[in-house]
Amino acid sequence: MTRRQRTLIQIATFLKRELPVRLARRVIELKQLPEGLDAMPSVIRVREWYEQSFVEIRRSKKPVDAEGEAEFCELLHNIYQRHAPTLVTMARGVHELRQKLRAERGEKYDLSDAAPIHGFLDSFYMSRIGIRILIGQYLELHHETQPEGYVGLINRSTSPAFIAEQAMADATYLCERTHGDAPEVLIEGATGCTFTYIPSHLYYCLFELLKNSLRAVCETHGVDGEMPPIKVVIASGEQNEDVVIKVSDEGGGIPRSHMPRIFSYLFTTATPAFDSGSSIFSSAGDHGTDSPLAGLGYGLPISRTYARYFGGDLNIMSMEGYGTDAFLHLSRLGNRSEPLP
């Protein structure tokens, strides 16, 4: 048996012990949600996924050899796919609750005032990130050859500038499609810096921030007018604790009354896409540009959860009437443990 095979078996054994614990906690949480959220059909569906995954892992054969390990890997792959639409399904559950409470308590009822729900969703999504990192990392490690610099999901030479350029390209494309044109995005600062991180997380955060900035500038200045560029500044030094990425725009800022709510999962003025009857669950998970999550306002809170997962943070400083600066702090020391409850 090769060393690699032995490592994989070790990881598989660890996961077989650890995952059921995490899944079980989610199941228990999902049974005791405030305001009757746990009775919503979509939330029940999510809970059933977690229950089923729990049972399957518990009943699986302990992976002691290459064959057992391969079977376990296949099982986890299926579980990973099964849970991919969790975000959008939970969002749907919250929406169902909102409808129900509006019917009971009047049209004006604002779900975003319900702090316990928000707290629950925050910790739920945080734990979900953890579970998906564990599983995702294991699945990636299964590939015979890892891309340059990668160990599973982790890239030891993640370049913020490179990822920013990718995010910029995609966000700009989206903006041009919607508004016809897009402002320029300038990337400055420590563009040569690299550090150890999970590129897909960084990509998601930057994509969301750039999307918001581009849209704000287009709407404030108009695509025909002169659109001031968006600046992305990357800050990093040799001895730094953090890599900080600032995305700053002159898109008019966020009205003060909205500020407490920009990180809320519950605040939305949009009618979610899934309300129109479509029940597409994209296999790309919840983060594709065409996902039914689009327009739900989940981008900022989820980005912040990603950033906080490894000890970083996301700060939004807005100047009403001028523009917004977003600061993404990413801890580069690699010595912060997961924030488990």
Binding site: N240, E241, D242, P255, R256, S257, G321
Partner: protein, 467 residues
């Protein structure tokens, strides 16, 4: 029942329990209570008269007795109204109120200083500052009541001449704080030190907040009294300006900082100010000037030092300021490329640690940069916490976002004070520190209570020293 009793009051109020008691008494027996929230300028005379009669009974100066009396709060509306083109009679009433009120406030400051924990109260510099307040209180208390133009003139000049000494107070406190930290040396337990620092911060927050209110009252009164013969500036009521352009104030601050920095450090980065010159608000220009100056001095000093330490070739990157005016607030952003600080050290920046915050803003040893900071507050190492208090005073905020290895962005958010007559105060201002007493007293009391201590237990031998 006097109208408007439930309104928020301007100026730091005394300890929460005293205030509640005062409010209860107010509601029960308006006529006999002299600690009223004044509803109209004429009532100032009533308060002054009632107070003077009772004070006349004990016409000897007793600092402790004064400290036990509650302060009278004034609302921002009243301050604006009594200072806006006042008649001679109104001027006299204002003078009488100030003569009655200031000694009480000074007595409170003195008591607060003498109650600082962890040996600070025993420090001779703190005692010096406390004695300054005591002397000022006595001088004002013993000055005859201003009843005509000449007695009022002499009162005003007494008040004016006392200001320079009081301006030195932050410096004394800052030096005492720094001395305490050095005395601790390296043996101090980090956790205990943090806890102690937090308690000190709470005490000093309360002290300085009250001091801002007190200085506001004094400067507002002096500016409106016109006793020096100079006409009050148009568009001003005391020190509140009804059409204050933050852009212009920031520009002035930038010009002054540029000169100061160039003179002290030999070089200064360009300071670029962007924004709408014509946007104006009702606000206190002095406060904006102070906050902007503190932020700019730090930004300029950090830029110079950071680039010197990196070889210094090429020009200095500019300090960029944006002044933005929104519907509810105005914001001033100061962005520098001065190297920033680590995020884990950000909390220290707001702490009252006294002069020489080692490693602040990425500077290893602040040498020439120390020369730059000339204001009493900044040279005491207290510039940033005080700037933040000034912002918080009317319900605003001050945030620093450092980008380690690059620079720092500071955001000062200030609330609009309602329309031109300060009549319509927005909610954030009404609920701000400047309007309501914050909870520091309760927090401090809780801290002590949880440890089974009384507030006085940590005074060491300060009481004995005072004799």
């Amino acid at each position: 029942m006097l109208p408007g009793l439930a309104r928020p009051c301007f100026g730091a109020a005394p300890r929460q329990s005293l205030r509640r008691a005062a409010r209860a008494t107010r509601l029960l027996s308006a006529s006999r209570d002299r600690h009223l929230s004044v509803a109209a300028p004429a009532d100032l005379a009533h308060v002054a008269a009632a107070a003077t009669t009772s004070a006349a009974a004990s016409s000897s100066f007793d600092i402790d007795q004064l400290a036990r009396q509650p302060m009278t709060s004034l609302s921002l509306n009243d301050l604006y109204r009594v200072a806006s083109s006042p008649t001679d009679e109104q001027n006299l009433l204002n003078a009488q109120f100030v003569r009655r009120e200031l000694p009480i406030r000074y007595a409170h400051r003195c008591a607060q200083l003498r109650n600082l924990p962890f040996g600070l109260a025993a420090d001779e510099r703190i005692e010096h500052a406390a004695r300054t307040y005591e002397q000022q209180a006595e001088a004002l208390f013993l000055h005859p009541k201003p009843v005509d133009a000449s007695s009022k003139r002499s009162f005003d000049s007494l008040l004016r001449s006392s200001q320079p000494k009081l301006l030195e107070v932050p410096e004394h406190i800052g030096t005492a704080l720094a001395a305490r930290l050095h005395a601790e040396g390296g043996e101090a337990d980090a956790d205990a030190d943090r806890t102690q620092q937090r308690v000190i911060d709470t005490h000093l927050d309360e002290f300085f907040l009250a001091r801002i209110g007190q200085r506001f009252l004094i400067e507002h009164y002096l500016a409106s009294s016109g006793s020096s013969g100079a006409e009050q500036r148009p568009g001003f009521s005391g020190i509140i300006q009804s059409r204050c352009s933050p852009f212009e104030v920031v520009e002035q601050a930038a010009a002054e900082t540029f000169l100061l920095c160039s003179a002290r450090l030999g070089v200064c980065p360009q300071i670029e100010v962007r924004g709408d010159r014509d946007a104006s608000f009702t606000y206190v220009p002095k406060h904006i000037f102070f906050v902007a100056s503190e932020l700019l001095k730090n930004a300029a000093a950090a830029t110079v030092d950071f680039h010197a330490s990196r070889g210094g070739g090429g020009g200095l990157p500019p300090v960029r300021i944006v002044v933005a005016c929104g519907e509810n607030e105005m914001a001033i952003k100061v962005a520098d490329e001065g190297g920033g600080i680590a995020r884990s050290r950000l909390a220290e920046v707001w702490s009252y640690r006294g002069a020489r915050l080692a490693g602040g803003f990425g500077l290893a040893a602040r040498s020439d940069a120390d020369e730059l900071v000339r204001s009493p507050e900044a040279s005491a190492g207290l510039g940033l916490p005080l700037a933040r208090l000034h912002c918080k005073f009317f319900g605003g905020s001050l945030h620093l976002t450092p980008m380690e290895g690059y620079g720092t962005d500071s955001y000062a958010k200030l609330n609009r004070l309602g329309d031109d007559n300060c009549e319509d105060l927005p909610q954030a201002v009404r609920e701000s520190y400047g309007m309501e007493a914050a909870e520091p007293s309760a927090a401090v009391n809780q801290w002590y209570a949880r440890r089974g201590l009384q507030v006085g237990d940590l005074l060491y031998d300060a009481q004995a020293r005072r004799g």
